[in-house]
């Protein structure tokens, strides 16, 4: 997988994960272009499209589009499956996830994604294992109120 983008129906980017090294300018260009292309498509249209020399696999969940770019030899269906699995993971973690969960806890969304995919490849296919890893890591994280215990002056 080359990259994954999450964006809203209004065209606001909610999450981006790049598995290929690209400069910011190029990233922005791709994002803009893809957002327009995908948003212009009608609901009944196919989830796969050829774009540049890549294949784009996208799926809309409520107001949020999940969009992945894969290489030509990659399997579209497994990509769709990856998207769905990621949504399932978010759903489990946040408890019926909504767009706002991802906006406000965007770092969590990244952590989950990083436990699920690594370098653009699925690293763990078991939902249970992914969530276990996240929970374990969260436990390590100091509670938020720690901020307040820190002497400021």
């Amino acid at each position: 997988m080359q990259f994954m983008l999450l964006f809203s129906r209004q065209g606001k980017l909610r999450l981006q994960k790049w598995y290929v090294p690209l400069c910011d300018k190029e990233k922005k260009k791709i994002t803009r272009e893809l957002l327009q292309t995908v948003l212009a498509r009608k609901p009944k249209m196919c989830s796969f499209l050829e774009w540049r020399d890549l294949k784009v696999v996208y799926k809309r969940y409520a107001s949020l589009y999940f969009c992945c770019a894969i290489e030509n030899q990659d399997n579209e269906l497994i990509t769709l499956e990856i998207i769905h699995r990621y949504v399932e993971l978010l759903d489990k973690y946040f408890g019926s996830v909504c767009e706002l969960d991802i906006i406000f806890n965007f770092e969590k969304a990244y952590f989950i994604l990083d436990e699920f995919l690594l370098g653009g490849e699925a690293q763990e296919t078991s939902k249970k294992n992914v969530l276990k890893a996240i929970e374990q890591a969260d436990l390590l994280q100091e509670p938020r109120h720690e901020y307040f215990n820190v002497p400021v002056y």
Partner: protein
């Protein structure tokens, strides 16, 4: 209270965390840019503080802003600071920010090397995990080089959580630093069999990605992947593996393999992929090509044979390397000759293919082509003219075949060519030319067994040439021909090959004698041709078994002394052809008595009749040959026109397809004309659509309808004889009648799937097997080969026996010919006479008298006129046909008795005077009696 104050100040100091920022942005929809720029200023302030928590918070916010498209590269160093925090909370945020914001050209990355190495070796697996995750996003060639070893070590970490991450990131490392692949690969391969499924799937992912770039290097892993493919239950992994295996071309092979299995049960479904399979012949992998060839063998039909062979011939031309080409050659011949040339519709075409194949240089399969040529020329009479012409050309151009006289296999073809030209020389256009070609000095360089055939057949040709030359006016021409023989044959007499030498010297002497006769102006042609008269018939492979070994003949005993070992093997003719010689020996010359001959002939005829593939000679020519072996009766081989070159049935192959297409076009045109007329008549017919596109199935009138009529099938190909063979019963339950039906096949085809069915009447019913409905038929449990009869027993239940019964029925069956099978129907009637319900029962005269006296019996009588037979014959006839027994006979008067299966008594008093016979009868059932008398009357009216 104090806490509140502190908290308030903290709020002020910490200004905003991420949530606040997000909320703020959402609340400032109108002046978002302005709001964000103040936020960035705040973040800059926060980053200046020493407190790591504050810094982390700021970095977190920056990461969000980065996503919104703001440049945050200025904070790269701060991100590194947060990454190196010892606290997981901040480290996590630091790495996240790094993975989002860093790219290869970010210069601070090189400062991170040591920090990352430290994190990788952290005792906390989540520290390691976070570092690996981050690294996967921003790994540079430098980082890859420096950290490759550390990551490789992590691939054997105790925690699967770390192992799988390490395995996956290795792929990124390989991409950035390819030198690491070689040392890391063995460990990566190990991971394919890791006990943890996550690690396993990670390894599969990495290897699949690697293999996709360069499949060949990973071919050695194919068995391992195959094992995984069959054992793994993880679909995610399976999809990847299948993708990978397809890179190995194995899938193609497996597909072809599977197809060959499917072919056996569902040939149609495979045949539709013919083009795909033909494409596989172009594959660079030989094993795939061979598989495809195997498949083609199974999927040819009459329809596609020519097309497939044409494609194969193209491949023969292209094929590099003789092994594969030879394989193609054998396959072509296999395909064509399978099941007795079942799929060949045009033998001219096949001969041309064989001739084309002879142009291959250096093939080992010359003898295969040769035996095919012989086989076809001998068995397909209609093709002989064409075959002989082709073979003559071959002989003429023999120097092209043998090339620079290398002993290549293709010269075996000349064996067949010489034999065919000699044996069927009467078809030659220019026998003289062929004779000369066969006696060229160069022939002496051919292998011995071929030379031998040349010499023998030169003699046959010689006889043909003589015949034509003597018939013509020039007498000298014949003498010149003899001279040619005498000039050329000595070359062969000198041959080192014994067989050649023997034949040549024998024939040379013969020709010399002929020449002497010719000089005395004696016509010799007819006598010479008598030497070679007689037709050679193909012999079935198993025919030898049918010939009994004569008494006193020990086949194992040596006829001559065993050959001395000094004889070199080279001198012996090749077994394949030498063996065939004795079979072709002319039976006419052997001393077998007439009886034995007749018996063998009969046996052979039987054999031929049973062999649907044997192409029969016209009977006349054979008879003539058998009866008077005079010279004028040399069996000129007749071209049997009933054996068409194109076997009837569907029209086939290119030219036939073309013909068919033309025919259809014409039909279409005719139809259009008609429709135009119609249109003129019916102006309103605009709504109707006239065919502009391809016509529908129904529009094509079948071309082969006529052919079905010409199928070699007599109208009555089956006879049914039925006979009531067993009856039993009583009045209560009705009676059971067992009928034995004899099925006799009188045609030349196999009859199978016979189903016998009758229309039940109220009175009589066929007893059907359990579970079948009242209209189901009875499946005859056997098939009928040609000329065979067999018997089936059917059981009927009959309620009343006083009336004769006629039942209508049909027999459906399949007539299986060599090339088609037809469904046929035979209607018949089963006739149950009342007589058949009578059982011969002996009766004593006193009991008989009592019976007549009882008065229960009804009377009836019948008179038969003009019966010309002795009285005892008459009685015997009644006894035999109508199951009566004689009670008493006095002169020309007799009393007879019989009883029905339901216990009716039937008594007859038969009297005769002159030619008139009167029968008085008594029975307790008047209807039965009437019918029995009618039947008796019927019997006598027939004689």
């Amino acid at each position: 209270m104090a806490l509140k104050i502190v908290k308030g100040s903290i709020d002020r100091m910490f200004d905003k965390n991420l949530q606040d920022l997000v909320r703020g942005i959402r609340n400032h929809k109108e002046d978002e840019a302005k709001y964000i720029s103040t936020c960035i200023d705040e973040i800059k302030q926060e980053l200046k503080q020493d407190n790591i928590a504050v810094k982390a918070n700021a970095v977190c916010k920056l990461t969000y802003l980065q996503m919104l498209g703001y440049d945050v590269s200025w904070a790269a160093f701060n991100i590194v600071e947060v990454m190196s925090s010892s606290k997981f909370t901040y480290k996590r945020i630091g790495y996240l920010a790094a993975s989002q914001c860093f790219h290869e050209s970010t210069d601070v990355i090189m400062l991170t090397t040591n920090q990352i190495r430290k994190d990788l070796s952290s005792p906390n697996q989540y520290d390691t995990g976070v570092a690996l995750t981050g690294l996967s996003c921003f790994v540079t060639p430098d980082l890859a080089r420096d950290l490759a070893n550390d990551i490789m070590t992590l691939m054997s970490h105790t925690k699967p959580y770390i192992r799988k991450k390490a395995v996956l990131i290795m792929y990124k490392v390989f991409l950035k630093y390819p030198e690491s692949l070689r040392p890391a690969f063995p460990r990566l391969k190990e991971k394919l069999e890791d006990p943890d499924p996550g690690v396993q799937s990670a390894a599969v992912n990495v290897i699949c990605e690697l293999a996709r770039r360069n499949p060949k290097n990973y071919l050695s892993l194919a068995p391992l992947f195959f094992k995984l493919m069959t054992s793994s239950t993880n679909n995610w992994v399976l999809i990847k593996i299948i993708k990978l295996v397809s890179c190995f071309c194995v899938v193609k092979y497996l597909g072809l393999l599977a197809m060959s299995k499917i072919l056996k049960t569902h040939p149609k479904s495979v045949q539709s992929h013919k083009d795909l399979i033909l494409q596989c012949l172009d594959d660079k992998d030989e094993s795939i090509r061979l598989r495809a060839l195997d498949l083609l063998y199974g999927m040819v039909s009459k329809k596609n044979l020519m097309e497939i062979v044409k494609k194969l011939m193209l491949h023969v031309d292209k094929a590099e390397g003789t092994t594969y080409r030879d394989e193609l050659l054998t396959k072509i011949i296999d395909i064509c000759s399978q099941s007795n040339y079942q799929y060949i519709t045009n033998f001219e075409w096949y001969i041309s293919i064989l001739v084309e194949l002879t142009r291959l240089e250096g093939t080992r399969h010359g003898h295969l082509i040769a035996s095919q040529m012989l086989d076809v020329a001998i068995r397909v009479k209609a093709i002989r003219i064409f075959a002989v012409a082709q073979m003559a050309t071959l002989l003429d151009n023999a120097h092209l075949l043998t090339g620079n006289m290398q002993r290549n296999g293709i010269c075996e073809v000349l064996y067949a060519a010489a034999w065919i030209c000699g044996e069927f020389s009467e078809h030659l256009e220019n026998p003289m030319q062929t004779l000369e070609a066969m006696l060229r000095p160069k022939v002496a360089t051919l292998p011995g067994h071929i030379q031998a055939v040349y010499v023998q057949n030169a003699a046959k040709l010689f006889s043909t040439v003589l015949k034509s030359q003597e018939g013509s006016t020039e007498g000298t021409a014949a003498q010149e021909t003899s001279q040619l023989m005498i000039d050329r044959l000595p070359l062969f007499v000198q041959s080192a090959n014994l067989e050649v030498q023997e034949r040549a010297s024998c024939i040379l002497q013969l020709v010399k004698y002929i020449q002497k006769l010719q000089q005395k102006e004696v016509e010799v042609a007819e006598e010479v041709s008598a030497l070679f008269a007689g037709e050679l018939n193909p012999v079935a492979p198993k025919a030898q078994k049918k010939v009994p070994v004569p008494e006193g003949l020990d086949l194992d005993a040596w006829i001559n002394e065993p050959p001395s070992e000094s004889e070199s093997e080279d001198e012996q003719p090749k077994a394949i052809f030498a063996k065939e010689e004795p079979k072709h020996s002319r039976s006419r010359h052997t001393e077998v008595d007439e009886k034995e001959l007749a018996r063998r002939r009969e046996a052979r005829k039987q054999e031929q009749a049973n062999n649907p593939f044997y192409i029969k000679a016209s009977p006349s020519s054979q008879k003539v040959y058998q009866e008077s072996p005079g010279v004028e009766h040399i069996p000129v081989v007749q071209i049997d026109l009933t054996v068409p070159l194109k076997v009837p049935g569907l029209p086939m192959s290119d030219q036939y397809l073309k013909l068919e297409e033309e025919r259809r076009q014409k039909e279409r045109a005719d139809k259009k004309k008609k429709e135009k007329k119609k249109r003129k008549e019916k102006r309103s017919g605009r709504g109707r659509r006239h065919d502009s596109g391809p016509e529908s199935e129904e529009d094509i009138t079948p071309a082969h309808m006529v052919d079905i009529v010409t199928e070699e099938m007599p109208e009555m190909c089956l006879t049914l004889n039925h006979k009531v063979c067993d009856i039993q019963g009583n009045l209560q339950d009705g009676s059971q009648v067992v009928v034995s039906v004899i099925f006799e096949n009188k045609c030349d085809s196999l009859l199978k799937s016979m189903e016998f069915n009758v229309l039940d009447s109220l009175n009589s019913k066929l007893q059907r097997p359990e579970g079948s409905g009242p209209h189901d038929g009875f499946t005859v449990p056997f098939q009928l080969p040609p000329g065979v009869s067999n018997e089936a027993r059917l059981v009927f239940t009959v309620q009343s026996i006083v009336m004769p019964q006629k039942m209508k029925g049909t027999l459906t069956f399949i007539v299986k010919n060599e090339d088609s099978s037809i469904h046929e129907k035979l209607d018949f009637k089963l006739h149950f006479t009342c007589t058949s319900y009578l059982i011969t029962t002996p009766c004593y005269s006193d009991a008989f008298a009592k019976l007549l006296e009882s008065g229960d019996l009804k009377c009836s009588s019948v008179r038969l006129e003009e019966v010309n037979m002795p009285f005892h014959h008459l009685l015997a006839r009644i006894c035999f046909h109508h199951h009566f027994s004689v009670v008493e006979r006095i002169d020309s008067c007799a009393s007879m008795y019989s009883r029905s299966i339901q216990g009716h008594h039937v008594c007859l008093l038969v009297k005769t005077s002159g030619q008139t016979v009167s029968i008085d009868a008594k029975c307790d059932e008047p209807t039965l009696l009437g019918n029995v008398l009618d039947e008796i009357k019927q019997t006598f009216s027939q004689c």
